[in-house]
């Protein structure tokens, strides 16, 4: 009989204690700071180098340098943070919240701001025609001198 009672104490205690499960979603879950929920990008800082795309083991990221877009397949991403660890501009971060469930495989695309227009520098030739003429003369003279010496 004593052996049968082994679990009874535990069971009784369990019966009169609060449930261990949380009242989700009424009480939202608090995530620890390190939780790898979803990858977020600060698109302003991205230089579209494509390092994250090459590093992603599941091939979830597509970077288009010309269109200046960075897209992530939310369902393909496995939250390994490899892209984040390798990003030269540190523009990727991890959010503790998971990406929302969806009926389709969602691809989030972020478009970077248009590149700051480079100041249009006037096409300035390096040397003036006179300088070039002088240089040619000097070169010819040097050549002649070298031939005479030999």
């Amino acid at each position: 009989m004593a052996t049968l009672m082994k679990f009874t104490r535990l069971a009784l205690r369990n019966l009169f204690s609060k449930p261990v499960t949380k009242d989700y979603p009424a009480v939202p879950r608090e995530y620890p700071e390190r939780t790898r929920g979803s990858i977020q990008i600060n698109i302003e800082d991205c230089i579209f180098c494509g390092s994250c795309q090459r590093k992603c083991p599941s091939g979830a990221i597509t970077v288009d340098r010309n269109a200046r877009t960075w897209s992530i397949d939310r369902m393909g991403c496995v939250q390994c943070e490899n892209c984040k660890n390798g990003c030269p501009k540190h523009c990727l971060t991890t959010d503790v919240h998971y990406s929302e469930p969806d009926f389709t495989k969602r691809v989030d695309t972020y478009t970077g701001p248009a590149p700051a227009a480079k100041p249009e520098a006037p096409a300035k030739p390096k040397f003036t025609p006179e300088q070039i003429e002088e240089m040619k003369k000097a070169a010819a003279a040097a050549k002649k001198a070298a031939e005479e010496n030999s």
């Binding site: 052996t3 082994k6 679990f7």
Partner: protein, 359 residues
Amino acid sequence: MSTRTIVPFGPQHPVLPEPIHLDLVLEDEKVVDAVPKIGYIHRGLEKLVEKRDFNDYVYVIERTCGICSFMHGMGYVEAVERIFDAEIPDRAKYLRTIWAEMSRIHSHLLWLGLLADGFGFEALFYQCWRMRERVLDMFEESTGGRVIFSVNKIGGVLKDMPADMLARFVNNFNEMEKELRELTNVFLTDFSVETRLRGVGILTRDEAIDLGAAGPMMRASDIAIDTRKLGYAAYEDIDFDIITSKDCDSYARCEVRIGEIFQSIDIIRQAVSKIPDTEISIQIKGNPNGEAFARMEQPRGEAIYYVRGNGTKFLERARVRTPTFTNLTPMLKTLKGADLADVPLLVLTIDPCISCTER
């Protein structure tokens, strides 16, 4: 002679979280033969090594299994580190040890829960998984993941555990230890549990050697082999005894695993008290050229990792020999002569992880 019947078992079966199929040849209620069939969950993870940078492959290989994911990552990185002959910082070794032991605790608790579920003790099952949840919470806090941890890298680990976190974890484990004593006592002394486990599925010492059993399955047959004694990670500095049992039955396997939970808690305590304050990773330059083996003691037994590099960033081969694979033959042995009603329990006692087996 009584007539023979073939009863298919699996791949979908209430007791099996993972797909394996057995053709059970029955004579009345007794199993006279069992023919296994696997291959339902092959994903080709080993082949992927040819297409992924060897650094990024860590994240692939740890997805071999959802329970010993940490140790799969660790086995692979240790094997690659051996090609480079790299000595990783001590703190990284200790952190790996702590995480590995936490994996063992949560794996064994999961198994205890499944076992309780297998013999129909639902309340016990929930109690085990309630305890396991606390370990998962600690994992989430320290690594950011509950199942897949992604903290290993070639040359060390990616995340550190600060001293206050370690102290808190040790505290948690001390609290858990008390509750676990009470809980595991039910497994070890409850009358109804004993009737289901005692003398069921005997695997003698000689059979265990001949059939190549691994891990707790082997140690329950009184063979004291534990790969941790080889001294990978920080196990060289840790003092622990190999837990064995002489009974060779399902009860012994349960007993060994319960013993290992408490042993793991003790190893974590030792590791936390000895952890040095160094870097957690080093830079490893170049590509691996050569081959190396690493052997790890996973919760289910010894796993072997083999990697071969050819000087490029893609490895030629990565191979994992998982413990469940070697434990399948001893399992078939224990099935022969068993009652049909005991089959689910016996399949469970090897702690099958079919995803590992098929990769």
